[in-house]
Symmetry: C2
Subunit: 111 residues, 2 copies
């Protein structure tokens, strides 16, 4: 019947426009999530699966962090085969919170 290829529940996304400032700030006020955002910003879109990030946490915690980033409108995810690949919502997030992403990405590689 040629419906969909994936029978997996699609990840629920939140558009940055619906995100309160407090939520956005709280999402970025964490060292692990900052590293995720920075690494993601340095890679082409849809090129990184969740497990491909260099952060010192187990995969359960990692999955949680991505859920938080999704809930803050920072990350978009799509299922691609067995992997879930990511994209930083640069334009949309910057339209809602101008300059915020730039602050996080700028300098301070060691945090």
């Amino acid at each position: 019947m040629a419906e969909r290829t994936s029978h997996r529940a699609a990840p629920e996304h939140v558009h940055p426009d619906e995100v309160p400032v407090l939520t956005a700030l709280a999402a970025l006020a964490d060292p692990v999530r900052i590293r995720l955002v920075r690494e993601l910003a340095g890679s082409p879109e849809w090129s990184r699966s969740c497990g491909s990030f260099d952060v010192p946490v187990g995969k359960a915690a990692l999955s949680h962090h991505f859920a938080v980033l999704r809930g803050a409108g920072l990350v978009e995810q799509r299922d691609e085969g067995p992997k879930r690949v990511n994209r930083l919502r640069r334009a949309e997030f910057d339209a809602r919170f101008p300059g915020l992403l730039a602050l996080v990405l700028r300098e301070e590689p060691a945090l």
Copy 2:
């Protein structure tokens, strides 16, 4: 000997230039502190004592919140008689984190 009028320990300040992004974000990722910053932004400098803010916490917690804001380079304090009056470090903080303060002050009065 005409030294100083106050024998009280002056509050320790941190200049925004020495503040890591993570610290700044964490300081602003709190509802009470956001209200403090917003109220402070709407008042003339040095016009507000710590106790004059309309937040639903006791004075102990309030004192703690001001310490966090100081540590993030957001607020400057000066002793004036028995009171401790405050000033939002607009220019300095904005030079270090351009646009961040604007995001917090903009819109969303109810958070």
